[in-house]
Amino acid sequence: MKVGVVTFPGSNGDMDCIHVLEQIPGCEPELIWHKSTDLRSADALVLPGGFAHGDYLRGGAIARFSPVMREVERFAGAGRPVLGICNGFQVLTEAGLLPGALLRNQHILFRCAWVHVRVESNASPWLAGAQSGQVLKVAVAHGQGNYYADQDTLRGMHARGQVALRYSDATGRISDDSNHNGSVLSIAGVTNETGNVLGMMPHPERSADPLLGSADGRVVFESLVHSLVGAAS
């Protein structure tokens, strides 16, 4: 299956995504330039991390108006899988494809670290291969990852199972100590109402090789393949 990886000017995680996707059996990754309106018959899309358009104004604010985004919105609206990683998550919230917004980290620091996240819901095709409650060791690298949504929005998201990932310790315990950027309810990843769009601040593509410290992020890409193959058969 084809997985399109969108490159914006300033993306820096695109080649990491390609590198990992090439190692996932059944995946044929392909770069898509942000000015393109041709999704190259992709079966799934990844918006990678980085600093699209220099993060000017707000992370993701200008990228949201890149020509490719009209097609991404159409694709997501048709229920097809879209993953936003880090800056890609910011783009998806700015585009209104995911609820909430990402603020500057509470303690101002740019966080570049290994953290743990607990899978709250595996309803998304991007997490279907993970168990609910499973803890993943994943890399984060961001200065604007403090997830925010108002109380009404959060209530609705909870009821619909849209909270996908929360920061935790290695045992899955959630507390302020493991909430490294001040996100409301320690939220690290959310989905849209139908689950096909997932945004997450941690980098699964940088956590996909034991040599680099963790391969836990592979489950995101493997889940996608299983979900799409399962849907086709």
């Binding site: 104004l57 917004a101 603020l103 500057r104 101002i108 403090n146 925010y148 108002d150």
Partner: protein, 89 residues
Amino acid sequence: MSVWLGRVTVVLKASVNDPQGLAVLDGLHAMGYSEVEQVRVGKHIDVRLGADNFEQAEQRLHHMCEALLANTLIESYTVEVGAPEEAAR
């Protein structure tokens, strides 16, 4: 059509935590400005635009704010349009 200068101010909503403002507050306190109670950091954006009249310039600027210049989930904005000759100076 005249050229107008729109002055847009974008600030985080009062309910949204502003770590940048808190950092500046810490800096001011460290300098000895102990009287400072709160700092909120926002953005000032000058937009020079052509419009037939004041109302049109103002309306277009509001649309720009809603669509791009502010994220109204977390930010509020104000728009001030100066006199057209001001822009020509």
